[in-house]
Symmetry: C2
Subunit: 446 residues, 2 copies
Amino acid sequence: MTENVLDTRSEDDDKPKKQIKLGIAGLGTVGCGLLAVLEKNGDLIANRSGCEFTIGAVTARDRQRKREVDISAYHWCDNPVDMADPDKVDVVVELIGGSDGPALALARAALGKGLSFVTANKAMIAHHGAELASLAERTGASLRFEAAVAGGIPIVKTIKEGLAANRIDRMHGILNGTGNYILTMMEETGESFENALAKAQALGYAEADPSFDIDGVDTAHKIAILTSLAFGTPPTMNDLPIEGIRNISDIDIAYAKDLGFRIKLLGISRLTKEGKLDQRVHASMVEASEALAKVSGASNAIEAHGDFVGPCMIEGLGAGAGPTASAVMADLIELARGNTGSTFSLPASKLAPLPLLESGERTGEFYVRLRVSDKTGVMADIASALRDEGVSVERLIQRTRASDDSVHLIMTTHETSESRMASVLERFSGLSSVLEKPCMLRIEPI
Amino acid sequence: MTENVLDTRSEDDDKPKKQIKLGIAGLGTVGCGLLAVLEKNGDLIANRSGCEFTIGAVTARDRQRKREVDISAYHWCDNPVDMADPDKVDVVVELIGGSDGPALALARAALGKGLSFVTANKAMIAHHGAELASLAERTGASLRFEAAVAGGIPIVKTIKEGLAANRIDRMHGILNGTGNYILTMMEETGESFENALAKAQALGYAEADPSFDIDGVDTAHKIAILTSLAFGTPPTMNDLPIEGIRNISDIDIAYAKDLGFRIKLLGISRLTKEGKLDQRVHASMVEASEALAKVSGASNAIEAHGDFVGPCMIEGLGAGAGPTASAVMADLIELARGNTGSTFSLPASKLAPLPLLESGERTGEFYVRLRVSDKTGVMADIASALRDEGVSVERLIQRTRASDDSVHLIMTTHETSESRMASVLERFSGLSSVLEKPCMLRIEPI
């Protein structure tokens, strides 16, 4: 009887005949994670893929750096593009990062020579995905990037294949674990953004320069890729409005809770009824009872809504060595199985832009917090500004601050447009009784 | 410039050259759903798959039955197996159902002739999957069954491909929407199992004969398939302990809530540290704070835990025309794209059973509810039974019933084995003060 492949006692007496030589560029967290997957699960992967993966060459910024894995046995390339050599490797795995520079040079070199290319590089795919997809199709190579969006969560595969029969009209998700960790900390402990960020950095969740995470750029790269997969557009960062979480205060976290919301940094991409694309990244008020609101810590989650499947949500770990390496390896296994297909959901030549929803046109409900001086007539000024711009208020709460003589006015609006809201905020800012820049957050229907 | 495929104004001037003629067997809810997908999203699917799907033949029990779609234009087969004809069709889609009978005859006929076969039939795959996979591999046909597990949720693809780099050690999930709808109703309205079932039937969630849903058989079919995909075993219903939700009372639903749990019908499959397979279906107490506990109504959700990816959960609609047709169509698109591979995660010849965990060996915590007469000495009898079998109690609550002179004793235990628990329950049942069969539920760590 055949021995089960998970049975640790089994002897692997029929090794797969097929071999794939990997060129691994980048030996940081994810690169070392990939070597660990191959070492620990190599037999299982060989059985599942019908293929033995070997290391044809490696490269990284610093050959001597101390690593958890021993790389002395692998062929070393000083220059990443030297790896794009069909004599040395069959597939290039790019884990260097950065939208341009050596990563892009390597991608162009490898795909140009017909070498399949697997990457975790969201910035490069968001900026140059369409060009690289065309190149891959021209040379018959495969370009795969499961690890580029939401780490270990197989969301690229889900959108491109699992939900391929559907006209998707909306996707939204928590796509950055660092940002979600910070917001969760602020909510659970009441601490400030700065303290929560420092904690995230101490735990290794946030980089020394955390701007891509907390300013929403990382989320934007990911939603741009998902947009392309779902809506057949070339991925682009142009006209993608991005706001991060740097200005979220513990005060707003607390008021959100009082109002039955949680604040989440969301990537959102949807198609309006008129067929316009509404793509954006910003901190959002989400009803606390929604599954997405309960995704806490460094987890990621994405919900897609298709016309036949309805809502479908996936949750898991969006970063880290293990989850990201799992996604890179999944792409490699699919290559070994011969599951290639086009890079995005459509051949590159069929990717085409959609008309964009002007950001001012978008309508929704809003949360606004004002710090105002506690004197007569303030409310009349506020109310006039709202009336004049045609914005009606759903809830209004006034809270006195203990520390000074100012009060907080917290309001949520009925549905209105972004442009009307912008006018109202400008009016508010011009009032002498309004003591600091108004805080506005969008209430996102999930 | 290329027009975006989602742009409804676009003219499709380069139709795909490739055609796939479908033979559709079964024109009930799912069959008509599939025809609706093809009609509504045919252009989109052609662009994504590079292939135009046409209907080569249809069959169903009753040709004359009133349907939402017009089938008069399609070639009709009186006998399903007549569809297994390469002159008529390229791929057979089986939506008849049932583990044997016409569905199995058609599967054998189609795969035997090298025709690829797509099915939503969980019972057939759970019982005959290994045989059919061997046959498919022998003739070079493809056998796919995404719709067989959890409706529209692409869990087959996720386990087989998305998480393929991982050694999975545990999967658990809500795999039956009818059962979950009934439990959710009971929890939200406090009504009895019978009333909640009647409501589910009135809404069309539950069949006239609901036994497969509420007795756990449907869940068992699905977990048997997932076990095969994750652990490389041939799918089998042998030695799969199954308990349903017929005996769950509104009383236990209420006590579960008091104790911080929710009751969910779970399919569970895990590998012990010793490499033994522990596969089972039963109503389980799940901590109310867990994401799985919050999956309500007719939704399904599955969580898998891999050694690199960590936990990954997918939630969506597990049944119904739209979601199921979405999954069937996803399989067809993958066929058109040439993404075939083996039926399960491994070639059929490599599927091998794992040693099973004896059900008595399994350890865990338990919930027990006893109805006892309210007199002196009862507690001493209960305590003796627990002491003699070496089971220690974590929490004990006594509640007097208003309606008679009996009381409820509710206890949760510390970790103990199923066999010890069985002995305790036998001792309890033998006590004259215990007025009805004890109710026992397993507390499932998620």
